[in-house]
Point group: C2
Amino acid sequence: MFALHPAFPPTSHELGSLPLCQVRLQLDARYSWLVLIPRVAGAVEIEDLDAADRATLLEEVVLAGGAVRAIGRALGRPVEKLNVGQLGNLTPQLHIHVVGRRKDDAAWPGPVWGVGTAEAYDADALAAALAAAKTALGL
Amino acid sequence: MFALHPAFPPTSHELGSLPLCQVRLQLDARYSWLVLIPRVAGAVEIEDLDAADRATLLEEVVLAGGAVRAIGRALGRPVEKLNVGQLGNLTPQLHIHVVGRRKDDAAWPGPVWGVGTAEAYDADALAAALAAAKTALGL
């Protein structure tokens, strides 16, 4: 039985579910950033998914990339590069980060993970980001 | 026509090619680390690959994960966690990092990219890593 790890809710907002993954907006206004969590109990590594789920996963990563670009446009900060990462060194439940990067962002050209402190969204920006992401994801 | 970006040869050693990707050993003895470069001209993001190549890509990522574990065993430092990253903020040609992590490694629990300076392999360890990776990859 799939259950979301308790580390996710305090740092991200649920957008809904695609065929494989729950999709969440990372609550860090510095970046257009989605997190995909395959709804497969016990999965830690990509190799823990079967081949069909792995194929679905990468399609959902591509879809999330489009949604990240949509968030960036909605917030007036168009995405210049996508970064995709599956780390899980701190939160073991399998999850994939899809992050929109810009040359003027807080961590460029390094990775975003572990750099500085998340900045809260203001209410208008959060609503715009959620709406843009949901439309792009068909949720 | 696919051509390898010149940033790769100074920092990695070619192991051979899978159906989609050229596979290279990252020349940093701190980590068991492979880099996959899809042999598709002009690809920058995962979305630049067609759906068939995307499915192949994730299978090659899983295969590379097994090879990274094999390198870790060969060097007496078994891998405890896999990290997969597609960044490309500095080198635009699409490439995917598959990195074996340990709680005692130089960057744990943060990401490896941009942390410290690569350490050269000594000749024996390099030969052992290359042999283990080639066997695991069937190359």
